[in-house]
Symmetry: C2
Subunit: 388 residues, 2 copies
C-alpha cells in the first residue's frame, strides 16, 4: 500500500449488442439470459474512482460526481462487504486495514444526465479499485455484477460475453472476453444523445415488471437469445460486420418489444429514436448492404456501430438530418471532414427539427479498467473537487 | 329486385380487442390466430355502399368516397367472382343478371384520412350489398374476409370473434357473434384521432414481414392469444369490465411489441400514442381500479373503451390534457357537461402541446350491416355525388 493509502482506477462504459433484460435473482443480480457487449474507449468515456482508508476516518464516505452522497446504498455496501470478506479469507492485507473506514470518490467524464450506462462503468471501477486496494485475487466480473448487472461486462476491454450461468449462488454468472480491443480495430461507435425530459421507468423496476408480466420475455430468454448469442460471438470472431449489425439491431428491437409487452408497458424509445432507426435502415438500403447498426438501452439515446471507413459519410448524414445549434455537436474522436453531398440530395428522409439530438459522441472499442496515478482524493482522503 | 336494380347497405367499423396480425395464407386471408372485436354504432361511423347492374352497362365501375377508382383491385374482383359463383350455384337470380356489368359506389361517413379501419367496414358493406343484390344465402363473414381480413368481424354487431380455423380452404375461418349489441349497453368507445403526417407500413406488408422475421409472433399466436381469447370471451359474457380492459391493453401492447420485433421494425404508435397509454394507466391508478382501456391498430390513433358513467370524467380529462383549437373537438354521441375539476388539479401528467389530438369520436357498441333506402347511385346507376 502506498504511503498515503490511495488507489485510483478508470473503467469503461460498455454498450450491449445482445441485451440483458430480466433477473432470475434480484439480490445476486443473476440474469435470465446471456448478453454481449462492446467496451468503449476510456479516453472518450470513463468512470474514475479513488478509494482510501485510514485508521482515523470516523465513517465511510462517498462522493459521486463531486457531491457527497449517502453511503447506505445496499449494492455498494454489499460489494464492499464481499470484497473485505475475500480479503480476510486471502489474508491479502493486514487485518487492521479491513477495520478502517473508507472514503470513495467517483466521477464520470461524461454527463450522467445523458442517460448512458454510467452505473456499469461506475461499479466496474469501484470493484476494481477496491480489489486492488485490498489486494485480493478474484473474478472481478462477479463482484461488479453484484453492484450493477451490466457492470460485469465493463471489467474487460474489447468484446465481452456475460454468461447467465445456472448456479443459484451466482458463481458461474460471470463475464468473459470474446476478443480484446485490438481484434477489430475498424469498429467505431457513434452515441447520439437525444434531448429528452421524460422520466423513464428505472431498468431495475422495468426488468422486474417484465419478468412478472411479459409472456414474450420468457420466449426471448429461452429461445431467441441463446441462438442469437452464439451467432453474435461468431460474427465478432469472424469480423462479419453485416451479421454483427443485423443481430445487434434485431436484438435491440426485441428487447424494446419485450418492454412494450410489459404491463404497464415500459417505453424507452421516442419518436426521435424511431427516426434514427428509419434513417439507419434507409441508409443501409441505399448502400445495398448493412453499413450501420443501431442499438438502444433503457433510454432514447441511440448507439450506432459502424466501421471507420463509413464514419465520414454517416456523420455528414447525421449532421444534415439532425441540424444542431451547438458548435460542439460531434465530440470524442472528433468530427470528420465532410466529403459528400450527393447522398444528402437523394436521401429519402427530410431533416428534422433543430436540436432534437443534443450531441454525438464519436468513439471506438477500448480496454478494460486501468490504474491511474492522478487521484480524486487528496492526501488527507478528501475530494480535490467538491461541488457545492 | 327493385325496378331500378339498386341495393344499398350500411356496415359498421369494428375495433379489435384481441388483435389480428399475421396470415397463414395470403390469398385466402387466413390468420394465424383468433381475434375479438367490438362493433361500433353505424349512426356515428359507417361505410355505405350501393350496387347496381344493368344489361346496358358497358363496364364494371367503382366510385370510392366520390372518386372514380379502378375496378381492377384483385380483392374486389375476387369477392365479386366468388359471390357470382355462389349465385350461379344457388340459381338465386336469373343467369342473365350475372352477366351484366356492375356499378359500385361506396362512401365512409368519417374521414378515411383518420386511419380508422375503413377497409373492414367497406368490405363488410360491399359483400353484404352484393349478397343481397344476388340474393345468395352464405356465410358473409367468409366472403368479407376474402376482401379484407378484419372485415369478417364487421358483418355482426356487438362483440365478435373471428375463428382462425384450421382448414386450408378457409371454410372454418369465419366470424361468430359472442354477444349482440344490446348485451352490454353501458360500453362506450372514444376514438382519439392523432395528428400525424407519417407514412406507415401498410398492415398487409407489416404482417408479412412479421410472419417472416419475428420470433415473438409465433409464440404470441400459439401461446398468448389462445389463452387470452378465451378469457376475453368470458369477460365479455360476464360483463367484467376490469378484466375486459386489462386483456385489451395487454393485447394491444403485445401486438405492437411484435411489430417492433419485426425486421425492419414496424412502428405505428407515436409519442402521443404513448402519452395516451401513460394517461390511461395514471387515471386507472388514481381510481384504484381499471376504468378505461386503450387499444391501437396499425396507426397512432387510440381507441379507449370505458363505461358510460365514466365518460364525463374521462372526456374532461382528455380535453384538459390535449388542448384543442377546434370548436368540434368531441364528435359522435357528443360532448358531455364537465362536472369535475378536482381530478385535473391533482393529475400527475401535464397538458400537452395544442392540437396533438385532432378530434375525439364518442361512440358506442352497435349493430351489424343493414339495408338502407337512400342510395348513392341514381336511377341510371351513376353516383349522386361525384367529387371532381
Amino acid at each position: 500500500m502506498d504511503p498515503i493509502n490511495r488507489i485510483t482506477v478508470i473503467a469503461p462504459v460498455n454498450i450491449a449488442v445482445i441485451k440483458y433484460w430480466g433477473k432470475r435473482d434480484e439480490k445476486l443480480i443473476l440474469p435470465i439470459n446471456d448478453s454481449v457487449s462492446v467496451t468503449l474507449d476510456t479516453s472518450i468515456m470513463c468512470a474514475k474512482t479513488t478509494v482510501c482508508s485510514r485508521p482515523d476516518f470516523s465513517e465511510n464516505q462517498l462522493w459521486l460526481n463531486g457531491i457527497k452522497t449517502s453511503f447506505s446504498n445496499p449494492r455498494l455496501l454489499n460489494c464492499l462487504e464481499k470484497i473485505k470478506h475475500i480479503a480476510a479469507d486471502q489474508q491479502s492485507v493486514d487485518p487492521a486495514v479491513l477495520s478502517w473506514k473508507i472514503h470513495i470518490c467517483s466521477e464520470n467524464n461524461f454527463p450522467t444526465a445523458a442517460g448512458l450506462a454510467s452505473s456499469a462503468a461506475g461499479y466496474a471501477c469501484l470493484v476494481t479499485a477496491l480489489a486492488k486496494y485490498y489486494k485480493i485475487k478474484t473474478d472481478l466480473s462477479i463482484l461488479a455484477r453484484i453492484g450493477s448487472g451490466s457492470a460485469c461486462r465493463s471489467v474487460f476491454g474489447g468484446f465481452v460475453r456475460w454468461h447467465a450461468g445456472v448456479n443459484s449462488d451466482g458463481s458461474d454468472s460471470r463475464a468473459t472476453q470474446i476478443a480484446d480491443s485490438s481484434h477489430w480495430p475498424e469498429m467505431r461507435a457513434l452515441v447520439l444523445v437525444v434531448s429528452d425530459n421524460k422520466k423513464h421507468t428505472s431498468s431495475t423496476i422495468g426488468m422486474m415488471n417484465s419478468v412478472k408480466t411479459s409472456d414474450l420475455l420468457k420466449y426471448r430468454a429461452q429461445y431467441s437469445v441463446p441462438k442469437r448469442t452464439d451467432k453474435m460471438c461468431e460474427a465478432i470472431l469472424k469480423k462479419d460486420f453485416a451479421k454483427f449489425a443485423e443481430l445487434t439491431m434485431k436484438d435491440s428491437n426485441q428487447f424494446h418489444a419485450v418492454c412494450l409487452d410489459t404491463y404497464p408497458p415500459c417505453v424507452y424509445m421516442t419518436d426521435v429514436s424511431h427516426k434514427v432507426i428509419e434513417i439507419v435502415h434507409a441508409y443501409n438500403d441505399m448502400c445495398g448492404e448493412i453499413k450501420v447498426a443501431y442499438t438502444f438501452d433503457a433510454g432514447p439515446n441511440a448507439c450506432l456501430y459502424l466501421l471507420q471507413p463509413d464514419v465520414a459519410r454517416v456523420l455528414t448524414l447525421i449532421k444534415h438530418l439532425f441540424p444542431s445549434s451547438s458548435p460542439d455537436f460531434v465530440t470524442g474522436l472528433g468530427d470528420i471532414e465532410e466529403t459528400e453531398t450527393e447522398l444528402l440530395k437523394s436521401f429519402p428522409i427530410q431533416p428534422q427539427t433543430k436540436d432534437v439530438i443534443k450531441y454525438v459522441i464519436h468513439t471506438k472499442v477500448g480496454k478494460g479498467p486501468e490504474v491511474e496515478t492522478s487521484h480524486l482524493l487528496n492526501e488527507d482522503g478528501y475530494p480535490l473537487n467538491v461541488r457545492q
